[in-house]
């Protein structure tokens, strides 16, 4: 029975594949790993310039400027302000507006600005209303509930 070398060959194949994939995965993680922080945490971090960050904060109203095709704005949280320059290529999301809750992915620069490569934003007014806190309807407006029985 020649099962032993056969099994060995098979195992070798499996091991090579898995190791290669693990190595690729490891380097992929190193390349793209992003730390989740808030504006306050980022400003407090000591060696902030080496890593990729995903910063969460609110877009300061009135701070969005478009200069020479670049979008600059400020993220704020608990009184801390972070100047951000958007350096990405895709169009900014439609929900990116004054006061929106935004998440910026990118790197912190030595000059104190944050270069964001992608930006996600959640419109401040668009939260799923809890059933209790319904939109205000004044008492004399009577909605007609059809099919009520």
């Amino acid at each position: 029975m020649a099962t032993r070398p056969r099994k060995l060959k098979f195992a070798a194949g499996v091991v090579i594949i898995l190791f290669t994939l693990a190595w690729l995965g490891y380097s992929g993680i190193q390349e793209s790993k992003t730390y989740y922080v808030t504006v306050t945490e980022l400003l407090a971090a000591s060696d902030a310039s080496h890593k990729r960050y995903r910063v969460a904060g609110d877009v300061s109203p009135g701070s969005i400027q478009r200069v020479e095709g670049r979008v600059r704005f400020q993220l704020h949280q608990e009184g801390n302000v972070l100047p951000v320059v958007y350096v990405g290529s895709t169009p900014l999301p439609d929900t990116f507006q004054d006061g929106a809750e935004a998440i910026a992915d990118g790197r912190y620069q030595a000059d104190g600005t944050f270069h964001a490569e992608t930006i996600q934003a959640k419109c401040a007014s668009k939260y799923e209303p809890a059933a209790a806190s319904a939109p205000a309807v004044s008492a004399n407006e009577t909605p007609t509930p059809p099919g009520n029985y």
Partner: protein, 684 residues
């Protein structure tokens, strides 16, 4: 209305509990009547949940904003078909939808199999009832879609809704989005049925492989829907999200991919069990994991555990899902360990160059892909638990791992089906692979000469050619044999061939579809993007094209207001077409969206986004050229077609004249060839 629905749901919940208890008791005490009553209960549950979801649909269609769910996900001006889709656009509705589909699947599974699989049926019903019970618990107690608005009017609480609803998320107001979630859910939910059969098999220790056929068929049905759902989701992302791509390794996308990967692995390795009695434990693990990943996917999509910064805070359903998953994993794990003896296989691997080994590597790779996706998706959760910091990984991680996996899988797609069981002879290898190998390498050389220099795309194109040729050769060889015996054209013979062994040739069609999809994926390597601020009359150069902004217009309708940028597309001096990318502001939700303008062609798409107005008053236009992307959708269609072919029962006598006493001479030729090979080797 809502009281009828709520009552129906509550009654369905009670009947589900009854179905569970009656089926288990009926099986243990061998009381047939009790078993039958549990089958009836399953049907009643289906009817009741149908009533509930019917009520919700009616409430949506009639703008019954007293119901919080309707007010939160619809509005008066919404077209009626999108009102229906609002049914599954929110958490409560989509969970009810899950329940409904499960009850329908459950009833169908019971109805079709109650005579065929008498002994295991009670356990199938019990499993289905257990899962149904979980979802009905959510529907009734946690995320009830029939909650009403109560308002304080003159010191009294009165049920009264707002005048108009908040509207459906504009991103969901797109035709593909109307059918994408139902298909995805049909896939997710569908995997419950094979799971129930597998579990019942283990519990009752069925002899024989009859259950396997049933399980495989149901898996194929679920897989078909899941495939359609995933592809339509990609299509939706491409046409609606406006970033020029179709797959962003988003947690929700990943959630739908993971069960697809394990389901695909099962559909392949199940053949090892059918033909060689191998991999029994492994197949159980695969079918269990697929089901669990479906539940996990629903959980990821609905609980916001990963994408949200505040895990669990958004939704009350998280802990319930975790508990349900925990119980299921423990039970499945325990059951497999308990039944290891029953699952013992007496066969072993004979050769590295065999069908078995290609399946093993196929499984290894699919599982590695699934694991990497799971790992990457949960990385923020894992890193927070281990290191205390939340770290996410992005597309580079997923691409780095999964592109090589995809290419290796593509390679196996070509060689695997042509390897013989047990061991392939050198002669058969030469016969099967020499021509495709040489031709595909020649195509690779030609592409290199044309300027394709990147490693992965180059490999991918060569492999695509290789796999396509092997598939083509299989059809050609089989069809030629049939034509020799019965005449007619090669095309008719190929159809006959397919009818005789739908599973085999349907599988080849699926593989061919996958090849086309890979061609589309590879095109991504050659994408180009250009963004420019434009005023009326301005021009933009991109690739061999030129875009000229003709005008900026505005229109309005009750649902949304919109602004168009009208652009003429030129190649040289010739005007090819006029494109109208659009920006909309939806009135009910006050949410702006971008509507992409696409000029689809088989060689490349021109994809234009009207990104907005700059401070200086110019229109910001982003243009993408996406080569070959349409082959993904075409390939997807062929995958679906192939799966449907494979679902039809084979007709071994197809193509022969029936009733004339003529014996069926023609067997499944290629299958026979392989058997001959095996025999020849054994004799040697």
């Amino acid at each position: 209305m809502e009281s009828v629905a709520s009552f129906a749901l509550l009654l369905a919940f009670v009947l589900t509990l009854y179905a569970f208890a009656a089926s288990v008791l009926g099986a243990m005490r061998r009381k047939e009547l009790l078993q039958y009553s549990s089958y009836r209960a399953t049907a009643a549950v289906c009817a009741l949940v149908t009533v509930a979801i019917g009520c919700l649909a009616y409430a949506l269609l009639t703008d019954d904003f007293r119901i919080a769910y309707v007010a939160g996900h619809s509005n008066r001006a919404l077209p009626w078909y999108y009102k229906i889709t609002a049914l599954w656009s929110g958490q409560e509705g989509s969970l009810l939808f899950w329940s409904w589909l499960l009850s329908a699947y459950g009833m169908l599974a019971v109805w079709l199999n109650r005579e065929k699989h008498r002994a295991m049926m009670p356990y199938v019903v019990a499993t289905l009832a257990f899962v149904q019970g979980f979802f009905l618990t959510l529907n009734v107690f946690i995320a009830n879609p029939f909650q009403l608005f109560a308002m304080n009017v003159g010191g009294q609480m009165v049920v009264r809704g707002p005048l108009d609803g908040n509207g459906l998320n504009p991103l969901l107001q797109y035709p593909a989005m109307a059918i994408h979630p139902p298909l995805l859910y049909l896939g997710y939910v569908g995997f419950t049925v094979p799971f129930a059969f597998a579990l019942a098999t283990l519990l009752t220790q069925q002899a024989g492989e009859k259950w396997l056929v049933t399980t495989r068929r149901w898996t194929m049905v679920a897989w078909l829907f899941l495939t359609m759902g995933v592809i339509l989701g990609a299509r939706w992302a491409y046409a609606v999200l406006g970033w020029g791509g179709y797959w962003g390794w988003d947690p929700v996308e990943n959630a739908s991919l993971m069960p697809w990967l394990t389901g695909t692995a099962f559909l392949h390795s199940v053949m090892m069990q059918e033909k060689r009695g191998m991999m029994k434990v492994w197949n159980m693990v695969l079918i269990f994991s697929t089901f669990l990943l479906c539940i996990f996917g629903t959980f990821l999509t609905r609980s916001g555990v990963v994408s949200s910064v505040h895990a669990f805070a958004q939704s009350a359903i998280g802990p319930f899902f975790v508990t349900f998953l925990g119980i299921s994993i423990l039970f499945c794990g325990w059951l497999i360990l308990e039944r290891l003896d029953y699952l013992k296989s007496h066969q072993q691997l004979d050769s590295l160059v065999s069908r078995e080994s290609s399946f093993l590597f196929n499984n290894l790779l699919l599982l590695a892909a699934c694991f990497s996706v799971l790992w990457g998706t949960l990385f923020p959760v894992i890193s927070e638990a281990v290191q205390g910091v939340k770290i996410s990984v992005g597309a580079p991680f997923f691409n780095k791992v999964n592109i090589p996996i995809g290419l290796l899988l593509l390679f196996l797609t070509g060689v695997g089906p042509l390897f013989a069981w047990r061991k392939s002879s050198l002669g058969s290898l030469r016969r099967n692979f020499l021509m495709p190998g040489i031709v595909s390498l020649a195509i690779g050389a030609a592409l290199f000469a044309l300027g394709v220099r990147q490693l992965y795309p180059q490999i991918s194109f060569i492999l695509c050619a290789f796999v396509a040729l092997t598939v083509f050769m299989e059809f050609y060889r089989g069809a030629r044999v049939i034509r020799q015996k019965s005449g007619g054209s090669l095309l008719v013979a190929a159809v006959t061939l397919t009818q005789r062994n739908t599973r085999r040739y349907g599988g080849y069609i699926v593989h061919f579809g996958i090849v086309l999809m890979f061609i589309g994926f590879t095109g991504t390597a050659f994408n180009t993007t250009h963004e420019q601020e434009m005023r009326v009359g301005d021009q933009m150069e991109i690739g061999r094209y030129r875009l000229k902004l003709l005008e900026l217009t505005e229109t309005d309708n009750p649902n949304y207001g919109s602004a168009h940028a009208v652009l003429a597309l030129y190649q040289g001096e010739k005007q090819l077409s006029v494109l109208r990318p659009e920006r909309r502001l939806y009135k009910a939700s006050r949410q702006p969206t971008t509507e992409v303008a696409i000029r689809p062609r088989l060689n490349e798409d021109i994809y234009i986004v009207y990104a907005g107005m700059s401070e200086e008053g110019g229109a910001v236009i982003t243009a993408h050229i996406n080569p070959l992307v349409n082959w993904i959708w075409i390939g997807g269609l062929i995958v679906v077609l192939g799966t449907i072919v494979a679902l039809f029962p084979s007709r071994p006598g197809a193509g022969t004249i029936r009733g004339k006493g003529r014996t069926v001479v023609l067997e499944e030729q290629t299958e026979a060839n392989h058997k001959d090979e095996v025999l020849a080797q054994e004799n040697a």
